[in-house]
């Protein structure tokens, strides 16, 4: 049976789309048939981050409305096997995502995919509620910053009360914390919430810490999910995150400052 994972946060601009793109890519790279859906109706973005914007013909809402079938709308990734993208509609009709329509599309996807990743829009309105409603698991993307942490907590409340699993009394949506845009040196200085602070407040298991990194912007410029950038810290952190999601136990990297002394630098040659 396929697993539906929502990438959510409440707050905008925290790294949901960046995470969705890299997470889905990582699952597909590891051999799992994966579809990633952009739920941000009216503000399509995932296609750009995945570098397939010029291949969009039909979208999610076209499929819901029966104007195209799923195979016509799904974009097969050219670089990674097993990876498919379902782009968001640019319609301004916020009612376009109906619960029945979303359910129909997800049910169809679940027949041929192992993982379905739902990239949620910001906010707690219809699009965000639809993205999380059918989820089995949730990646809650949070920045080490007050408003992001508070919004994540609200989203956790919604997952626990308004998801289908909650409404039907099924086992709850499995929650994972993704702490993104983390700057260890600032946390060490005490002017940014630390990993421990955020964990203590939100109280859900940590799946991964993604460092603040220039490479994220560069890779989005190029339309390449950052997980595909060899040698980048953010890419490596996403790689670890995917492995952990799939059950590996790995230590968290990039969460402490590398204080290299003169001698150490001399001997490590960097």
């Amino acid at each position: 049976m396929a697993t539906v994972i929502v990438v959510t946060s409440g707050k905008g601009g925290v790294g949901k789309t960046t995470t969705s793109a890299s997470f889905a890519t990582g699952l597909a790279q590891r051999g799992f048939r994966t579809a990633v859906i952009d739920f941000d109706v009216g503000l399509r973005n995932l296609d750009l981050i995945m570098g397939c914007e010029r291949r969009v013909v039909y979208d999610f809402v076209n499929v819901i409305n029966g104007e195209a079938n799923l195979n016509q709308a799904l974009i097969r990734d050219k670089r990674v096997e097993n990876l498919y993208i379902l782009p968001a509609s640019q319609t301004r009709d916020k009612e376009a995502l109906t619960k029945e329509g979303v359910e129909k599309v997800l049910n169809e996807l679940k027949q041929s995919f192992e993982y379905v990743v739902c990239d949620s829009p910001a906010g707690i309105e219809r699009g965000a509620l639809m993205a999380l409603y059918f989820a089995d698991e949730a990646l809650v993307v949070t920045n080490p910053e007050v408003s992001s942490v508070r919004d994540s907590d609200r989203i956790l409340g919604i997952l626990a009360s308004r998801s289908r699993r909650a409404e039907q009394g099924d086992p709850p949506v499995k929650e994972h914390l993704v702490l993104s845009r983390y700057a260890p040196e600032r946390a060490d200085r005490g002017d940014m919430l630390s990993v421990e602070d955020v964990l203590e407040i939100l109280g859900i298991p940590l799946l991964g810490v993604i460092p603040e990194s220039q490479t994220v912007l560069q890779s989005s410029n190029a339309g390449v999910p950052v997980i595909m950038e060899d040698g980048s810290e953010a890419g490596a952190a996403y790689g670890d995150l995917v492995d952990r999601f799939l059950g590996k136990t790995l230590p968290h990297r990039f969460i402490t400052t590398q204080k290299k002394g003169f001698l150490k630098r001399l001997f490590s040659g960097s």
Partner: protein, 93 residues
């Protein structure tokens, strides 16, 4: 700005993460409380239940306990009514 003051400023800005954490703990606890606290219909429910039960058995307010619990994804509404001895016997056949 004197040396003393600037020293003070630096140290207080160093604590901004601690301040953020403290503020978050308060607001999050507050919001969780209103989100997960007992629903506002409980007192009315309790009163009406009491009225129904009283049609059949004389009980008073203190003998009825309504309790809402959450366990995992479930909500359990627990209703406890202590019946007076005689009435209890009377109710059986």
């Amino acid at each position: 700005m004197g040396l003393f003051e600037s020293l003070f400023r630096t140290s207080s800005s160093n604590k901004s993460a601690a301040l953020a954490k403290e503020r978050l703990q308060i607001i999050v606890a507050h919001e969780r409380g209103s989100r997960r606290g007992s629903p506002d219909y409980l007192p009315a429910l309790k009163k009406e239940l009491l009225e129904v039960v009283r049609k059949y058995v004389p009980v008073d307010q203190s003998q009825i306990k309504v309790h809402l619990d959450r366990e995992g994804g479930y909500e359990i509404l627990e209703l406890n009514i202590t019946l007076p001895d005689e009435e209890q016997r009377y109710g059986r056949d």
